[in-house]
């Protein structure tokens, strides 16, 4: 069913995305283009094929999405700026060593302006709040070297209010625990050096229960397994130094079985259509599980570990040791 990770095939898959600019699909996904570029680039980095996409073209695209008026980045030209694409833009420019193109104080101002009284962040001027946006803010400020400008107590205070009785976190206070929200809250606390706010054993228990008999992980009770949770759950476990609580062999087999052998890319589960989102989180999960031939990934920032370490931002997480062969 599964086969070893076919890196050249997946690299070709990522390169082929965005080739058909007249496609309906291309237009229907413009609202997430910046995120998609970040997913593609990070996947290539993990697969040690960073140069498979043109660096200058990518940087030009990112800068074409910069909104002079707000200081934020949009997901695509002619779209509105928002924290989600702003983080992706900063991550891309960091990985491409092109942060010098950015007016850092202006971007920092944009990010900080979105913090609410309660400590949470809105995504943009229209006010939707979500712990995901809080993570975007903390991560971006950290990469830009301006984390010291953040009101840490206020920010941490909000995250702790999102902590549920089962140890998990939701997208806002009172919301159901969800693995993706667990990741953003735990990773944000890691960046802020406040992991003591997590009820670590209770949360690790909840995360362990995400593993289904198939070996795949789900995001909430009684939901289907999905490859993207191989990252959301696994990275949280990695930050808590508890990856051994998950059956690594079974999860590895599950991720590998979701590869598309014909067109490349990884899908949410075996047999479904691949996409760049699941391709990234599949290889990211494999990297944390020690799969041979891949580069180390920092689970807090979801970026190459060596780069984060070079910036002095590495936190106390642990991944499984890298195997020499399959």
């Amino acid at each position: 069913m599964g086969f070893p990770l076919d890196v050249p095939l997946h690299v070709k898959y990522i390169q082929s995305l965005g080739e058909n600019k007249d496609d309906l699909v291309y237009h229907m996904t413009a609202h997430l283009r910046m995120n998609a570029v970040y997913w593609g680039l990070t996947a290539l980095c993990v697969m040690k094929n960073k140069d498979a996409l043109d660096r200058e073209e990518m940087i030009d695209f990112v800068m074409s999405c910069y909104d002079e008026e707000t200081g934020g980045f949009a997901p695509h030209p002619d779209h509105d700026p928002h924290l989600l694409p702003t983080l992706s833009a900063i991550q891309i420019l960091t990985m491409q060593d092109a942060l010098d193109r950015v007016n850092i104080p202006r971007v920092v101002k944009f990010i900080l302006s979105l913090q609410q009284e309660s400590g949470v962040f809105a995504g943009d001027q229209w006010g939707e709040i979500d712990t995901r946006f809080l993570y975007c803010a903390v991560n971006a400020l950290s990469l830009l070297g301006h984390l010291h400008e953040l009101d840490v107590e206020k920010t941490v205070g909000y995250i702790t209010r999102c902590r549920n009785f089962d140890g998990g976190f939701g997208n806002r206070e009172g919301a159901e625990s969800h693995a993706a929200q667990v990741f953003v809250c735990v990773a944000a606390l890691a960046i802020l050096d406040r992991l003591e706010e997590v009820d670590q054993d209770t949360l690790a228990w909840w995360l362990s229960e995400r593993q289904l008999p198939s070996g795949g992980l789900n995001g909430r009770p009684e939901k289907l397994e999905d490859v993207c949770y191989s990252f959301w759950v696994l990275s949280a476990m990695s930050i808590l130094n508890k990856i051994p609580w998950i059956n690594a062999d079974k999860l590895t087999a599950f991720i590998l079985s979701a590869q598309d052998p014909d067109h490349g890319g990884i899908a949410d589960r075996p047999g479904d259509q691949p996409d760049v989102f699941h391709t990234l989180f599949g290889v990211a999960g494999l990297s944390l599980l020690g799969y041979p031939g891949l580069d180390d990934l920092d689970p807090v920032y979801c970026m190459p570990a060596s780069l984060i370490e070079a910036k002095g931002l590495r936190k106390g997480w642990s991944a499984l040791p890298r195997k020499i062969s399959v």
Binding site: Q116, V120, E128, A175, P221, N247
Partner: protein, 410 residues
Amino acid sequence: MSALSGSELSSRLAELLNVPPISIELLPGDGSEWLAVASPDHAPFLFTDRNLGVPQKAAYKAYLEAVSRFRSVRPRLLHPGSPRGQPVSDRDIAEAAASSSVLLLVNPAHQSALNTRKRLVELGSLDAAHELAFTGALLTLREGAKQSILWQHRRWLLRRIHPPIRPPQAPSPSQGDGVDSLYGVALDAGTFRAEFATVEQACEVYPRNYHAWAHRFLCAQALIFLLQACDDSGDTPPGVLLEVLKEENARARFWMERHVSDYSAMQYYFQLESFLPQDSPLRLRMLSTSAEDSVQRHAMELVRAYPTHESLWLYLRSSVSSAPRTDARGTPMSANHGEVSALTEQFLSSSADRDRIARRHAVWFVAWMAWKDKTIHADSSIIRRIVSMAEESSPLMAAELVACLSTEAR
């Protein structure tokens, strides 16, 4: 059949979306089988009793057209009327409303289109109540129902339509989580009912709908806040709002019992019950639950009836964790714990194939209870043991299970 240009399709579709419809459905292909029997008035679209049917082929053609129209008009709305921007004409407003509606129909995640519509509401060019109805129609689409931005759009509109409650009862800015809530908004009974109904429909269309349940929680929170604010100021809470809360409690419970895999529903119901402790004045006024009807008893009945559902076992866990150890008179309520034990032993001791899944849940339940009681600790080898015992099929007693998990790893 599709002799209409993208531009004509886009305009016609926008007109229908502006009625607005009560429900929308995307039909596969070109919709010809439906059109053969339906009225040709709105061809290639179907529009009966305000239910809109849009063939996918027509939708995609209209979408591509709307992309370029939106691209042209969006910048003119960014600074309406300012010296820097161009003045906004009626035509611009019509174009923005039309193109953004088509974009959102096909791609309900198109945030910039939704932002433009907020700008139109702010300008007074789109009526907030009308926009609320349009948003409701988008939420009948499977793709629409799951979009957090649409739920936020509803709250944004509700805050514009309804006034804030007057101080001193108004909440402080640090209460709630920022601007995106309904805290302290004077919503009426009809509005609450409409919101709860919209959420339920969205959860039918897209099960376990995370953002719909989050929205429902925010509405419930707002309702209880309003009732408590009246209480605190010595006023009698309006009977009609109490009725709404009573209905909502009953409806949430009814939904749970018919959706036994829906952990989101159970979590919500549990929260609703937690808002109203047994001795709270509000609950007494609601004249609803008595000790017999406790959450724990409810959970046990459901697990007994549908033991293969993980969600119900988790509901049981919550209820046991929060159950009072003694009743109001200080008498230990051990009887309930005895019943829970009997239930778990029943499934642990079965080796029947049909009970395999129930047995797995029972193993995790017992392990979790032992961990909560600090009888066992948690680490990677204990978890591995739990997983392995959960996958077995040999009969077991709870005491044996706990003993096995308590011994040191070899």
